[in-house]
């Protein structure tokens, strides 16, 4: 992992960060290293180690077990039997896995497009409107109430002859007899809608925070230059929101790839295996079918994909800044 290479293609600093010192990654502008005073302090690792320790001990270490199991055959009881790459070979032949990968990709695209896109829209629309907080409330409620009855209620909306069908019929639109959850990939799309209903508020909230932290200076300057509406947003606000878009998109990417809960609640990956995501396939193989070894291989695949995707994304977005 090289953190030094990108210095050359460091982007023109965004307005907000123009005051960042351009060079000197050791940050010794105020004093010289080795002399009494170190501008950035001497115990910088103390600040980061608790976070690293928590993540390493409680998340990475237990996960090593999964990594180990993926090379074994194991039913959760007797000792795991080492089987080399057998599980990984089986991954290549598993047709159900293709459906899972397709659905997982749909979830990633869907998550970025709808809850994130929608969240941005609502955040921007409500941002400096009086009573914006009240306008935002309906979007926050589904997330705040996320434990309560989501599966039941959306089941009623999406089931055959359910409310969605009734509404379509009443409005004279086609699709009154669509069984939204009964075949793939339609059921995945339907669940992305449910997910959007629940998650839009989270992204909206983060975008609002992002909008708040935009420096007033550049906005005022642009306004004096006559910018407003779309062009203001496109050329001034949006670039200044980059720190938060990085956060929101990074989270959406991971959430989309790891999607499990909503599918498990609404369809358990069915009918057949038509709405499984990689995480559901993993859970099914490990916990339902008791094939710990094979399920662990699916988990490693999922982790690798998620890890790579978020690494590439974060590298692009913020790696460059830090490498300076």
């Amino acid at each position: 992992m090289s953190t030094h290479k990108a210095t050359a293609d460091r982007p023109a600093p965004a307005v907000a960060r123009g005051h960042r010192p351009g060079t000197g990654r050791r940050g010794t502008r105020g004093g010289r290293p080795g002399k009494g005073f170190a501008l950035h302090g001497r115990f910088r690792h103390v600040y980061i180690s608790p976070a690293v320790l928590f993540v390493a001990v409680l998340l990475y270490l237990p996960f090593l077990w999964t990594a180990y199991l993926s090379f074994t055959s194991y039913d959760g009881l007797a000792s795991p039997e080492f089987t080399g790459l057998d599980n990984y070979r089986r991954l290549l032949e598993d047709e159900a896995l293709l459906t899972s990968i397709r659905n997982t990709l749909l979830w990633v695209v869907g998550t970025v497009a709808l809850p994130v896109g929608g969240g941005l829209l609502v955040a921007v629309l409500s941002y400096d409107v009086r009573g914006g907080g009240w306008f935002r409330l309906p979007f926050l409620l589904p997330y705040a109430m996320s434990g309560a009855g989501l599966g039941v209620i959306w089941g009623f909306i999406l089931q055959p002859d359910g409310m969605a069908n009734q509404i379509l019929t009443t409005l004279g639109m086609p699709g009154g007899d669509t069984a939204f959850l009964q075949d793939g990939p339609r059921n995945t799309l339907a669940m992305i809608v449910v997910w959007t209903w629940q998650q839009l508020g989270v992204n909206m909230l983060l975008f609002v925070v992002g909008l708040q932290s935009i420096p007033k200076g550049p906005i005022e300057a642009a306004r004096i230059d006559g910018a407003s509406g779309w062009s203001m947003f496109r050329h001034v606000t949006w670039p200044l929101m980059r720190p938060i878009t990085t956060v929101v998109l990074g989270l959406a990417l991971v959430a989309g790839l790891k999607n499990f809960d909503i599918v498990w609640v609404m369809t358990q990956g069915g009918p057949g295996r038509s709405s499984e995501t990689l995480a559901v396939t993993m859970y099914r193989d490990v916990f339902v079918a008791n094939e710990y070894g094979y399920g662990s291989a699916v988990a490693i695949l999922l982790t690798t994909i998620t890890g790579l995707a978020s690494y590439v994304y974060l590298r692009r977005q913020i790696g460059k800044e830090d490498a300076s």
């Binding site: 953190t3 996960f63 907080g133 935009i214 509406g229 989270l251 974060l314």
Partner: protein, 284 residues
Amino acid sequence: MRERNGGLRAGAVNRTVRRAVLAVLGVVWLFPTYLIVANAVRPADDYDPADSVSPPSSIGLFDNIAQAWEQTAVGGSLLSTLLYSVVSPALAVLLGALAGYAIVVLRLKHGFTWFVVIFAGTVVPFQMLLVPLFVGYSKVALYDDRLGLILIYSAINVPLAALVMRNFFGNVAVSIFEAARLDGASTFRIFWRIYLPLSSAALAAVFILEFTFVWNDLLFGLTLSQSENVRPVWAELSALTTDVYAGTPVPIALAAGLVVSLPTVVLFLATQRLFTRGLTLAQF
């Protein structure tokens, strides 16, 4: 001057349009929420799956809640759930903020690599942690211990906090840090007195999201604890909402879920003020 006035008028029209769009979207969003509330309030006896849209004819909410309480021990688990939902996110936000501060402000060597190490904690599929965590916890006597749950909830929440705080600290001008340092303030003092207060909105947002996550967790609570006073509330309630052998009438399950969600709803309402324009000072 004329142009400016025109801009203002356009702004007013613009604002009305924005309100209208928000209102329409909001109503669409409220519909499923309405269904939850209406059917939680409905007396269990009146419930008919074919007609869940009509408003309840009488208020059965309290009977439903009473019945849910009778079947579960939600009462005992509320306090510990509150403990987890406050302590873990608070700890996670603090740790995440410290990490972000070290990376962005203190310009830690290999900062991006460290950041990736922390962030990759979210990449791990949590379901796979259950068995090894349970086995590990049982060895160090953390099974069925509040501390055990606090630890895992904190760990899970650190990456989000680190990501958000790292990105927010980047917005604060470096000159502030340098000036304070040259004035003789310690790095920790600067973190505590300047950086944290400046990011209050971001801190609050992260805290709320993580509070909600912990409050609603079922996965870890169910597997890592067994006593009523350690198990979090959803581990108790899920018996009503997901068990096929239960056959719990829908209004009772919904009423229980609704009541247990109240703390998060209240939290969202109470913190709305933080997310209005101009409270943050990050634009130094």
